[in-house]
Every structure is written in structure tokens, then in C-alpha cells.
């Protein structure tokens, strides 16, 4: 049963991933990408990583895809289609993709995976304590680094959004001080 579901999910993901990069309509490829991300969430559900699956749905499907759709809505018209790249570019991209795929496949097949019997579901409480523990194996440092990164992103967003106004204000204050 699980094997069948896995193969169905894998098929969905591969088909939509290919559709996503080959589609010439921008919003359609975004939607195909959404299906790929939902498929990944499905794989997480299949291996009982419920928390990760829900986060995948919230952050990627609900957050990032909505943002991408927004930007497409702002810049793209329904009748426009993406242009096809030059043959030389196509060949170079194919070679680069095949190289990347080769590296991935050799690493995956060279690595010996341990089969986990009777895996337990990680509870949210465990994830929380692990995230904030400063013992060996705790994740407090990456957690804090990520919060600093988020803060920087927020400050950056404010600067970009209000940049001109802030400049004008500082110029005014300079003028008045002179």
C-alpha cells in the first residue's frame, strides 16, 4: 500500500516538475510547481513527518507560491508566452542538467541508507526542545542565526519600501541643521 502511494506521489512529482520547466505560460508553471511541492508534503506525510509536512504546506505551498503568483499577477499578462531559448543555450543547459543529475545519482547510489524499523513520529514538543537546547546536538545557534537573518530581511524590506521617503527626510533634517 505505502509503496504504491509512494510511486504515485513520485510519478506526480516528476511529471509536474517536467511540466513546470517546459510550460511556456508563466502562471501554469507556477501551479505545476505547487503540485510538486504538495507531492513532497505527501511524501513527508507518508513517512509520518507530520510536522514537516504541515510546515511544507504552510511555507512553500501557502507562502512562497502565493508570493510567486502575486509577482506573476503584477508583471505578466494572460496572453503572453515565454520565449524559447536559442539552440546553443538549450544544449548548454542540457549538459549542465545532466552533469548535476549525474552527481546526484552517483552520490545517492554510493551512500548506504540505514533502514529504520518502526519509526516513531516526532512530536512538536520534541522539535521545540531540540530547537532551543544548547547541549550537544541542540540547534540554538542555527536558530538564532536564522532569526538574525530574518531581522535583516525585514529591515531590508522596510528600507526598500520606504527608501525614498527616508532619504528625503534625512535630507530635510540636514538642510534644516545647516
Amino acid at each position: 500500500m505505502e509503496r504504491v502511494i509512494f510511486y504515485i506521489l513520485a510519478l506526480i512529482m516528476i511529471v509536474f516538475a517536467i511540466a513546470s520547466v517546459t510550460s511556456r505560460k508563466m502562471l501554469r508553471s507556477v501551479i505545476y510547481l505547487l503540485f510538486v511541492l504538495c507531492g513532497i508534503a505527501g511524501v513527508y506525510f507518508l513517512i509520518d513527518y507530520n510536522f514537516l509536512a504541515a510546515i511544507q504546506l504552510t511555507v512553500y505551498a501557502g507562502g512562497i507560491i502565493v508570493l510567486i503568483i502575486f509577482s506573476v499577477l503584477l508583471v505578466h499578462h494572460i496572453e503572453m508566452e515565454l520565449e524559447i531559448a536559442k539552440p546553443s543555450k538549450q544544449i548548454i543547459t542540457t549538459i549542465a542538467c545532466l552533469l548535476g543529475l549525474g552527481v546526484f545519482l552517483t552520490t545517492i547510489y554510493a551512500h548506504e541508507f540505514n533502514v529504520v524499523e518502526n519509526s516513531l513520529t516526532t512530536t512538536t514538543a520534541e522539535i521545540g526542545t531540540k530547537l532551543l537546547s544548547y547541549d550537544a546536538g541542540g540547534f540554538i545557534l542555527p536558530f538564532e542565526v536564522i532569526s538574525v537573518l530574518l531581522l535583516a530581511a525585514m529591515v531590508g524590506a522596510i528600507i526598500i519600501a520606504k527608501g525614498r521617503k527616508l532619504e528625503e527626510r534625512s535630507q530635510k533634517s540636514e538642510d534644516s541643521s545647516i
Binding site: 501554469r28 501551479i31 504546506l57 507560491i65 502565493v66 494572460i78 513520529t121
Partner: protein
């Protein structure tokens, strides 16, 4: 609930007797999905009827009362009419996305129903991250609205979809944070355990002041997330025609319409589960009759649904800037302070337990 349980057990035994275990499980899943689909398609139609009757009552009219007893079959007849209507669309629309959009909206709202506990046994999917799952699912529904608006190739539909997107993304924060406030008391995300915690008093009593604030914020943000008046910017009929579903007709329009009402039911059901003890009876008066759990759950949910309808016919519509000001300048800071307050109360053990 023993009776209903014995029915499902009987079906399970019967199915496993005639086919292999995997197949039986699969058939059971399909059956449960069909039962849910059937119940909530009908329930959604009755919610539409209730909305119309309540609206009529508020406006001192009679409302639909001709088809069936007190108009009970009115919305059924409407649904049949919508089924038989021709499906139209615009000439240069993106047909694939245009047809896909209604399913996004309806499928996500039906998925959310799976985790809601109607009674102890009547819960399709008791996942250990219930609340998070609900938030995750509800954040996908907006994609359907955005797609519907864009692929109709219509200015007004596009504006409606953009407004709806802005609104849903903003108010999702408040919904999430107000539920998070309550998670501080329960200490679990699983919906059945959240109800278990409330056997010592409903959470709105246990958490007193911050819980009441969280409940108010949840109801405001929930109303906004379902795109209902006073937050129905997405389909403001005096400005945008019908907003994002202007170009839809027949059953596809009905999907959007039904999804709106099912979403309203879901918001009320989440509020019931998290704040008002779900299927628990007040003061445990009918604890010995577990079958009444469904009744209490539906009674509380229906009261909250009525509250949302009351909002709709009482308040005038907000402007877009007012809408965003309300969320980002008032609700969000209030919510963050409320979480700190709740953390303090849980830490100092000031919870009221009956």
C-alpha cells in the same frame, strides 16, 4: 456513540471478510470521504438557507419560505438549477487554470473538515499536529481565488483576486497567532487532546482575559479569511461586480459559493473546538450520554455561525487601507502582546480550573 461505532465496526468487519486488508482499508477511506462529501455538500446548502433566513430576519423580510416546509428545499432547488446551467467562460481565458481554480477552493475546505472532532469517535483524521494542519490547509485555499481571478482575463476579477490575496495573507497571521495563544494552555496541537484538556472547564474560562481577547481576534480574522462582509473586499458587489468569480457560472460558481459557507462552518468549528470545549457539554450535564456530543458541538458551532452572519448584516464594508490598518497596526501587535500575557498566566499558574 457506541451505536455509530458499532456501525463502522460492522462495515469494517464485512469489508475485511470479502477482500484483502489493504483493499478493505482503501474502500473504507473512499467510503468515509464520500460520506463527508455528502454530508457537507448538504450542510453547506443548508447554511446558505440559514444565511438567507437570517438576512431576511435582520432586514424585516420573510425570506425564502415557499419551497418545502419553511423553504427548507429552496437551496436544494437552487443547486439543481445551477447543475443544469451552461458553463460559460471568457474567450481568451486560460482554460486549464480557469477550470482548476474552483476545485482548489472546495478541496482545501473539505480537507480541513477531516480533522475536526464532532464527537469522541466521529473524527476522520486525528493527526498529532491538528491545528497546524488546519492553518496549513487554509493557507492554500487562497491560491484558488488568485487563479480564478487571473485566468478569467477580466479586470474586475483580477482586482478582486488581488484584494482577496492581500486580505487572506494578512489575516492568516492573526488566525495563527490567536490559536497559538491557546496552544500555550493546552500544550498540544492534537485536536482530541485539546478537548481532553477542557474537561476542567472550557479554555475560554481557563484562560480568562487573554483567552477572550484571543477569541475576539480569532473571530475577526476568521471572518476576514472567509472573505465575508464586513471584509468582503474580494467580491464587493458595488465596486467589482462579483469580484473574482464574476466570469464563473453554473456549478463552478456554486463551488466557490459552497466553499465560502463551508469555510465559515470550519472557522466556527475551530473556535468551538479550541475555545468552547468542542463536543463537551456545559458543566458536564450530559456526560453520561456521549451521543449528545454531536448535538453540543453543532449547537455551539451554529451559534458562532449565527454570530458571523450577525456581523455580516450589521457592519458596513471596510476600505482596503482600513482593512490592512486593522490587521497590521492593531490586531497583530495586540496578538503578540496577548501571547506574552498568556505565557505569563500559564507560567504563574493563574489558570481558572473548575
Amino acid at each position: 456513540m457506541t451505536k455509530a461505532l458499532s456501525i463502522t465496526k460492522g462495515i469494517h468487519d464485512w469489508l475485511s471478510s470479502i477482500m484483502s486488508e489493504n483493499a478493505a482499508n482503501f474502500v473504507e477511506m473512499v467510503l468515509i470521504a464520500l460520506v463527508y462529501l455528502g454530508i457537507f455538500a448538504i450542510a453547506g446548502l443548508f447554511l446558505v438557507l440559514i444565511e438567507r433566513r437570517v438576512a431576511a430576519w435582520f432586514q424585516l423580510r420573510v425570506g425564502p419560505n415557499r419551497v418545502g416546509f419553511q423553504g427548507l428545499l429552496q437551496t436544494m432547488a437552487d443547486a439543481l438549477k445551477l447543475l443544469s446551467k451552461e458553463l460559460t467562460g471568457t474567450e481568451k481565458a486560460d482554460k486549464f487554470l480557469y477550470n482548476l481554480a474552483p476545485y482548489f477552493v472546495i478541496v482545501t475546505s473539505l480537507m480541513a473538515l477531516a480533522v475536526i472532532p464532532f464527537t469522541q469517535e466521529f473524527q476522520a483524521f486525528d493527526i498529532n499536529i491538528g491545528i497546524l494542519f488546519l492553518i496549513a490547509i487554509s493557507s492554500i485555499g487562497v491560491i484558488g481565488i488568485l487563479l480564478g481571478g487571473w485566468s478569467s482575463n477580466n479586470k474586475f476579477a483580477l482586482i478582486g483576486a488581488m484584494r482577496s490575496g492581500v486580505q487572506t495573507i494578512s489575516y492568516e497571521l492573526s488566525v495563527g497567532l490567536s490559536l497559538l495563544t491557546m496552544i500555550l494552555i493546552t500544550g498540544t496541537l492534537q485536536l482530541s487532546e485539546i478537548i481532553e484538556v477542557q474537561k476542567n472547564g472550557w479554555l475560554i474560562v481557563q484562560g480568562h482575559i487573554p483567552a477572550i481577547i484571543a477569541f475576539m481576534i480569532f473571530m475577526i480574522a476568521g471572518t476576514a479569511e472567509t472573505n465575508r462582509a464586513p471584509f468582503d473586499m474580494a467580491e464587493a458587489e458595488s465596486e467589482l461586480g462579483a469580484g473574482f468569480h464574476t466570469e464563473y457560472s453554473g456549478m463552478k460558481f456554486a463551488y466557490f459559493f459552497l466553499a465560502e459557507f463551508i469555510n465559515m462552518f470550519i472557522i466556527a468549528a475551530i473556535a468551538t473546538t479550541v475555545f468552547f470545549g468542542g463536543w463537551l457539554s456545559p458543566f458536564g450535564i450530559t456526560e453520561s450520554i456521549p451521543l449528545l456530543g454531536v448535538f453540543w458541538f453543532l449547537a455551539k458551532t451554529m451559534f458562532l455561525v449565527f454570530l458571523m452572519m450577525w456581523f455580516r448584516w450589521t457592519f458596513p464594508r471596510l476600505r482596503v487601507d482600513q482593512l490592512l490598518t486593522l490587521e497590521w497596526k492593531y490586531l497583530l501587535p495586540l496578538n503578540l502582546m496577548n501571547i506574552v500575557l498568556m505565557a505569563l498566566i500559564v507560567w504563574l499558574n493563574l489558570i481558572i480550573k473548575l
